[in-house]
């Protein structure tokens, strides 16, 4: 379940459980934080059943504006297939074309200092979906610097 209780209520979650469905809610207080949480799940180890174990050997992330969905959604095939032989690439969302947002900032800090996966791999690329009006060059620079 992707999204917090304001997006999908606990009643829905409870109803699913009542039907015998195992539910994991992945959410943060903002769209950017939710995307970061999802990225954490995607890059976590599959072997320990912590996540999906996406390729760490050419670790990278996609990024799109979070207050406008078109660019990110249209990039699903590109990121899901991987870029230049990488595994699938998680999508991160900014708060706006010129703001990273707290959820993204703390995720970038964590990944920038620890790397991705186990054993940790440094992030090597950033795939920006959308033009400079959607994700400003300064924001791209800040993200690349933080990684």
């Amino acid at each position: 379940m992707v999204g917090g209780p304001m997006a999908v209520s606990t009643a829905v979650l409870a109803a699913l459980r009542a039907d015998g469905v195992s539910v994991l809610r992945v959410a943060g207080p903002t769209a950017g934080a939710t995307a970061a949480a999802l990225a954490g799940l995607e890059t976590a180890s599959a072997g320990s059943h912590q996540g999906f174990g996406w390729d760490h050997h050419s670790a990278g992330f996609g990024v799109a504006r979070g207050n406008g969905y078109q660019d990110g959604l249209a990039g699903a095939a590109l990121l899901g297939r991987g870029f230049r032989g990488s595994g699938p690439v998680p999508l991160l969302l900014t708060a706006s074309p010129t703001t990273l947002g707290q959820g993204l900032v703390s995720f970038l800090h964590r990944v920038g200092t620890r790397g991705v996966g186990s054993p940790p791999t440094p992030v090597s690329f950033l795939l920006v979906l959308g033009g400079p009006d959607a994700v400003s060059p300064a924001l791209v620079q800040a993200m690349a610097g933080a990684l």
Partner: protein
Amino acid sequence: MTPVGGRRVRAMLAATVVAASLGGAILAAAVPSAAAGAASAASAAGPAAAAVPTGAPTTTVTLYVDASAGTQATGCTAPGTAACATIQEGVSAAEKLAGEAVVVTVAAGTYAGGVMVTAGDLVSLTLQGAGGPRTIVTGGTTVRDVTILSGTVTLRGLVVDSGRAIYGGGVSDGSDQPVANLPSRGLAPTRTGMFSAANDPAAATRLPSPAAGGPLTLVDDTFSGDEAAAGGAVYFAAVSGTAGLTAIDDTFSNDTASTAGGAVFVAPGGFTGPETPAAFADDTLTGDAAPYGGGILSLRLTELAFDTFANDTATVTGGGVLMFRPAIVLNSIFDASSCARFSEAPLEGAYNAVTPGTTCPNTSGTGVTATTLGLSATLGVNTAPAAPETLALTPTSPAIGEVPAGQCIGTVSGVPVTTDERGVPRQSSPTAACDAGAYEYVARPPVGPPPVTTRRVSGTTADATAAAALATAFPGTCPGTTGDRPVVLASDEEYADALASAYLAKDLSTGTLLTPATTLSAATLAALRTEGITHVYVVGGPLAVSTAVVAALEATPAYTCEGTKPLGRNLQVTRIAGATAPATAAQVAAFPGKGFVGSADLSGVYGTAAAGVGSSPSPSAPGALRTAIVASDGEFQDAEAAAVLSYAQDLPILLTHRGPSPRRPRAPSPRWASSR
């Protein structure tokens, strides 16, 4: 003469000695404040002004020598064809310019040695080479390269190669006997003379006589493969009160002497006045050899600062240096073979780097150990001949940072010398320490992860960005797996359909394009052609993607991959839609059939509040479970990133209203709306 204690040495260093050590010419001026100390002999030196002729300032006259372009034998007044062809012609032209300061520029090329300089009538004479390995003077192993009979002379930017003489194979400030009279090996130099009559009965006749040369300055020169009985590369014997030897930024390599001073022999001075010094700064001496003083043998006051001695050898004593007079040795490196031997106190030394335990093996005089010279640690000097920078400091060399900030910059004739032999600044900041030896180590940036590369995938509109993303996702090919090249098309005005479409796009091995509800956008139309699309799967009802758009699609010709040729038929269109966004998502989820639903085992994160993952305390069955993604149908659009997960892991996305008592998202049995 009173030996100087360590504390006194430090005080002097801070005040004057470093400055003094960097140039013989300035030494006499700089040392008087330290006259009560060790350099008492120097204190008797005349005023420094004596080294520079007084009177009206002179202009500098420039003459030109060019081995390849020069055609003249006299004059040498302009470059190119007006230049002279040999150094001797240039020097002879200069000698006619009495009272002038003359610079003879010598273009890159190879020039014959045997040059005789009589520059006593000039203010000064400079032979200026092209620097580096480019201007080469060679004695061809038969004659000395340059003989200086008189004058204040500077050699700059020259390679002085393969000279051969009794005294000073490369350069000497006096003439001497033919090389055939080379003394036999094994003669020992003495403190007062050089080769005593007892040692060498013929020594008197062999000495350069008279040694009338003036101050000699060597800057940025390379002396290599020169050979002599004394002073393989340089023999300096000026006896007048104002003459000193100054060597800055020079390299002496593989020079040999059969008796003493493999690279340099400094004969006694002071016979007709004060004893003027020899000074060596930022010089590298390597591979030089002689029985006594493989690198330098000096019989007068000598100062060494920022010099590197490596692989210099002596069969008797003093592989690096052998000093018979008081010496100041600062900020220099002596490797294991290049020991430093000092026969007369006092020796002043500080901030040197010396291989531990290295002393010069001999019986008399004062052997100097690593401890008295300064730093005692294994040296990190790269002596591998094939290394890119032989004699470069290795990153762990103790010579790095050995010299404290206050001792890094000296002056020569009032001009600060701030760099090492190569020209690399000694200090990164005024408060930074610097390195011993002629090579200043520059740390390379730490090796970290390669920089993050960024690539932007975009178009001028959202639809164009979607087209760019599709093209990037299928580089060099077209979407689809068979002759059928499908694409998914969703509204660019509504979130839910495009989100759900990722699962379908994966099943079809394609991606998603976007369009406004009422008209097909130009960017999307272009992408349909260039991607060679044959089949469009429209996700969403007529309110999301109008019937007019579908009609336009069905009237659009399909093209071959790359869009070069029409296939002769139009696009095929399939609409997948429900009455609501969740219903459409359910249709999409059902389209590929349940066998396509991906599985995930996330039992490891169930019941935990893993970092960044919303807590959902719930027991869960372990093992791989067929999995779907549940998200809001659009009131909150925060599941955008889930589209990637859906695509990558084949997880259908089911949509729901927020609740609290919503219709449960339900995947219907596989069926879908037919086209239109």
